[in-house]
């Protein structure tokens, strides 16, 4: 197998495996936020902004994986 092919597999593995954790995390955050909104609908706006913030922090792990994937693919 040539270097290009190995690089492509490496990039795909980097982003693919790196997306698992944030995916689970975002799912938990979203689910818990829905639960909280259901219990206390008045606080929905506040919960939503905090939920987005938490999602963003979970997502940034996936972003680091994306950085590695892009580095492997293009640099």
């Amino acid at each position: 197998m040539d270097v290009e092919g190995l690089k492509a597999i490496g990039a795909a593995l980097a982003i693919g495996l790196g997306a698992i954790g944030p995916g689970i995390g975002i799912g938990i955050i979203g689910g818990k936020a829905m639960e909280a909104m259901g219990r206390n609908p008045e606080a929905a706006g506040n919960i939503r902004t905090n939920m987005i913030l938490a999602i963003v922090f979970a997502e940034s792990v996936a972003i680091y994986a994306l950085v590695i994937a892009l580095l492997l693919k293009f640099v």
Binding site: T49, I52, L53, V56, E59, S60, I63, Y64, L66, V67, L70, F74
Partner: protein
């Protein structure tokens, strides 16, 4: 239900889509899959300064924003003290802008408290700039109309039929072409997002110093732990180093979050357009509109939260 689907308008749209398929089939127009280029390509040179297509589009975005601001504030009376009530009532576009700005101002106030007057101009500018930058890439023609140029050595080009690129590889001997678009969404260029991230991170330090003077830097170099023995002192020093690293990592996460989301979205749209043309891209265009808005909002909100955090004295949470 079914009756509502068969309106004249929908029929015309259906016919147009079918006609597009037929025409592109008859003409044999088969364009190559888009060249995914991570870096923005230079399109014109001013002196020794190469202007890339992303930079050009960023200038267009600025013009759009300035014109929108002028239109919004055009009919505001100059002399506010002697203005009649009826002169102050916004209408149309400026009504929409006032509603939006007021909504964001209220939201920012709930996060930043008394600092909102300092933070709001910066974060709102960032938000508007990013959201227009994200959406401009979704306009048809941006990223698809451009000059045919010879690819850099190593990459393979395609044969061109007149002004249109075809999917056939270039004939042996002759040099092929690739498309270099005139316009490209600024958020798909890493330079743009890193610049915004640097501004956001620097302003967080600025507001930290403005709020707590030199006490802000205690966050990075905390010697107070030595009062509780050498071990705690070393731990506090190490925490300071971690704070410094997290501050620097913010530049990366800010910039790559925006860049990654928008760039991936553009690539997704381009790839889908080649799987099944005209039809399948449509729901994803809607998705990209949403993603563009959310990413701009997230960038704004993170900047707001980090500005606010840096104005709060470090360790205030522990000893009330």
């Amino acid at each position: 239900m079914l009756k509502k689907l068969f309106t004249v308008r929908n029929l015309v749209i259906l016919l147009l889509v079918v006609a597009l398929f037929v025409v592109s089939g008859l003409l044999g127009l088969k364009v190559p899959p888009p060249e995914v280029s991570l870096a923005a390509e230079p399109v014109l040179h001013i002196g020794g300064f190469a202007v890339t297509n992303a930079l050009l589009t960023a200038w267009i975005v600025m013009i759009i924003l300035v014109v929108a601001a002028l239109i919004t504030t055009r009919h505001y009376p100059k002399d506010l003290d002697n203005a009649k009530n009826s002169d102050l009532v916004p209408s149309g576009f400026s009504n929409f802008v006032e509603w939006m700005v007021e909504g964001f101002y209220g939201f920012s106030e709930s996060v930043a408290g008394k600092w909102v007057t300092k933070f709001f101009p910066i974060i709102m500018t960032i938000f508007l700039f990013i959201v227009v930058s994200n959406w401009i890439g979704l306009i048809p023609g941006v990223g698809t109309i451009g000059l045919l140029e010879h690819p850099a050595s190593g990459a393979e080009g395609f044969a061109a039929k007149g002004a249109i690129l075809t999917a056939q590889p270039a004939a042996s001997g002759a040099e092929g072409f690739i498309l270099v678009p005139f316009l490209r969404a600024p958020s798909t260029d890493l330079n743009f997002t890193v610049a915004l991230a640097l501004v956001a991170v620097f302003m967080a330090q600025y507001f930290g110093v403005a709020a707590q003077k030199l006490g802000y830097f205690k966050k990075f170099l905390d010697l107070s732990g030595f009062k509780q023995g050498a071990f705690m002192g070393v731990i506090q020093l190490f925490v300071g180093v971690l704070e410094l690293i997290s501050e620097l990592a913010r530049i990366i996460s800010y910039s790559f979050r925006l860049f990654g989301n928008i760039f991936a979205g553009e690539v997704l749209l381009a790839v889908l357009a080649f799987l099944i043309p005209y039809v399948v891209s449509l729901p994803f265009l809607g998705l990209e509109l949403f993603v563009g808005f959310i990413q701009a909002f997230v960038f704004m909100m993170l900047a707001l939260v980090f500005f606010t955090l840096s104005t709060i004295r470090h360790g205030e949470e522990e000893h009330h």
